[in-house]
Each structure stands twice: as C-alpha cells, then as structure tokens.
Symmetry: C2
Subunit: 183 residues, 2 copies
DNA sequence: TCCCATGGCGAACGACCGTTCAGCCGGGAG
DNA sequence: CTCCCGGCTGAACGGTCGTTCGCCATGGGA
C-alpha cells in the first residue's frame, strides 16, 4: 500500500496510526480491515518484498559479466539505483527491523546476511585474483553497503545529479575502495 | 540517563515508555519526574550532546595537523572511534530526528549540516592542492560519513577487530576514496 | 424488481501512553 | 524526640492506539 509506504517512511511504523493511513486515502480506519489483516502485515509485506527485490537486482547485476571488477561496479550501480528509486522502502527497511514480529524479522535478517555475504564473495574473489587490494574485505563490503544506504536519505529525483551519474560515481568509489583498475 | 540511552537505542523513542525506563531503574514511572521535565527533554539532551561531542572530536582531530591528507585520515579515525564508542547515542541520533520537537530538531539539523560542511571543506582543499582526486567532493564526503555510521550497528567491544584497527582501516579507506597517497 | 455481496462507517472495546497529584516514608537537622 | 523535606508511590487523568462489530448504502446479477 503506497500510502503506508509514505507514512511509515516519514514518521516511522510506531509513529503512524491506522487512522493516519486511512485519512491519506479518504477513508476511516476500520475500512482498511476490508483489505488487510493487520498493521503488522503491512510492514512485513513491505520489508520482505523490498529485500527480495534488492537482492534480485543484485544477482541480475553480477550475472551480466565474469570480470570481477566489472561485477563489483555493476553491483554498486544496482545498489545505488535501487536506493535512489525506492528511498521510502529502504528507509523503512533500515529503521523498522525491531518492529517486525517473528518469524518475519528472522527472514529479513537472513536475507540481509545473504546479501552482505554475496558482496564479500565478490570482493574475496577479486582479492584472490590479484585484482583487488584491501586490508579487510569484510570492512570494505560493509563500507560499500553503507555508502548506498545514505543515498535514500538525501537523493531526490530532479536534483543536481541524475540517477545514472550517481550510479557511475558510486561504482567508481567502490573500485577505488579496493584499489582496482576499472574493468 | 544511561537507562534511557539503552532503551531508546534498542526499541526507539516511541517504542520505549516511561514505565520501561523506570523499571530498568527499579522504580515506577512517576518517580522519574522528580529528576526530569519530560520524556522529550531526555531525547533532546541525548541528541544535542551527542552531536556536539562528535563535532568537538572532529574539530580537535583536524586541528592537529596542516597536511590535508593527514587531516582527512584523522577526521575519519575520530569519526570511527566515536561511532564505535557510542553506538547507542549514534543510533538514536540517526533514527529519532523526526521525533525531536522544535526548536531542538532544527538545532540538531544545523549541527549535522555544519559537520558535513567541515568534511567537504577538507576534501575541497585536498582537491585544490592537487592531493585528492574525485569526481564529486560532495559525494565523497557523504560516502565517508555514511561508512562510519554503519559501524554503530555491528561493532562491539571485544570483537575480532580492535577499535584502533577499525580506525586505521577506515582512515585508509577514506584516503583511497579520494585516491590520496597517505600523508 | 428483488437479492445479496461488497465495502465503508460510527461506536465502542481494552490496552497502554505521558503526565499529575496527594500522600507516605525514612532520615538528617534542630 | 520532633519536624520537615526530598523522593518514591498508587491512583487516576485524558488521550490515542489497533482492532472488532453491527449497520447501512450501493450496485450488479438473476
């Protein structure tokens, strides 16, 4: 539900009432229950779908080439594009894990872990092949993931930088972080 | 108040009740009002003090040298050390701005803006002196700030990496991001 | 024309929130 | 010993929350 996305992202899950969501849709709160089970269900749908979409984009990006430096660049570009295009989803995803009930919370945590592991695999392979150089592949991957997340906080369409410029610059920074020559 | 720090960081401002805080202290909620004005006051104290401390550490770090590459490294080290030492404060600081009432919210936003600007000033000077190379000093500064914030989410004392190792590695990454030779 | 399913609605539920207030208790000052 | 006062307390306040329920309007199918 689009209205819930906007409100959860702006005020947080606990800061948004069913009455708020309903009024954004020109309705009253009880009417919402004709279309959904509970408020918690809304949050779970949003967070699970977000992580799965992000991960799917990521896999598609690194499947397009075998060159490890190019994989890293394209992974970062996909990461950045997703965060620029879906800032509301990402903000909720990063802020509301603690408000997710089990077992959904563990599912999201597992997806995150798998996502981070995939990044580390790429970096480790680059190091093994002698293409990347870094004192800690793990720290490098954390840094890259985190760099993208910030984008969802300040980027808005129509700003000074286009999404494609953003993706290119961040791809560039990712390669610099591991001292790689661009593939 | 230390108890409030822990609870706000774990469950969020809205997810923590005065009864929760009191019970952590072996009291009842009304007793808290002998020591503070309101729940909002707690949040404002925490967030303002946090941003001011972080900024003070930052200024001290870049005042210790005139070499711009060394300034960048030391700024990143101070940034990382603060986030590793005060994860609760930082988490609250990043998650709860929207729950801060005015005028405190604007004061915190201004402190953040000033902090970011100081980073950009260092990077811009490095570019002017021909020491740094980056397609966008602004993006580079955002990336560096964001890299540190993630630390507060996973670092804990006694983990595989010591705080000093962490600071050194991140300082290294900051310099790589702008393709600088270590000062 | 009648029927019924769909979906919005007002009212109300119990729970919990931040906060107030009057009273109680223990211990230090006189 | 007496008094007083800082600090903790139960009770209670008005308010908001997520959710339920019975009612009602509507409009398409028979």
């Amino acid at each position: 539900m689009d209205a819930a996305l906007t409100l959860f992202a702006e005020r947080g899950y606990l800061g948004t009432s069913m009455r708020d969501i309903a009024s954004q849709l020109g309705m009253r709160a009880p009417s919402l229950y004709n279309h959904l089970e509970s408020k918690q269900e809304l949050l779970q749908d949003i967070m699970l779908r977000t992580m799965e979409d992000l991960f799917a984009d990521h896999r598609a990006a690194i499947a397009t080439t075998n060159d490890v430096a190019e994989q890293l660049r394209r992974a970062m570009e996909a990461h950045v594009r997703y965060h620029a295009r879906h800032p509301r989803e990402v903000r909720i995803g990063n802020a509301e894990i603690w408000n997710l009930e089990q077992p959904a919370q563990d599912r999201v945590r597992k997806l995150r872990r798998d996502y981070a592991r995939s990044w580390q695999d790429v970096i480790n392979r680059g190091v093994d092949e002698g293409r990347f150089q870094t004192p800690s592949p793990q720290l490098a991957s954390y840094a890259m993931l985190e760099m993208g997340i910030g984008i969802s906080l300040w980027y808005h369409e129509g700003g000074r930088l286009s999404e494609s410029q953003l993706a290119y610059y961040y791809g560039d920074m990712a390669l610099r972080l591991v001292s790689a020559e661009s593939g």
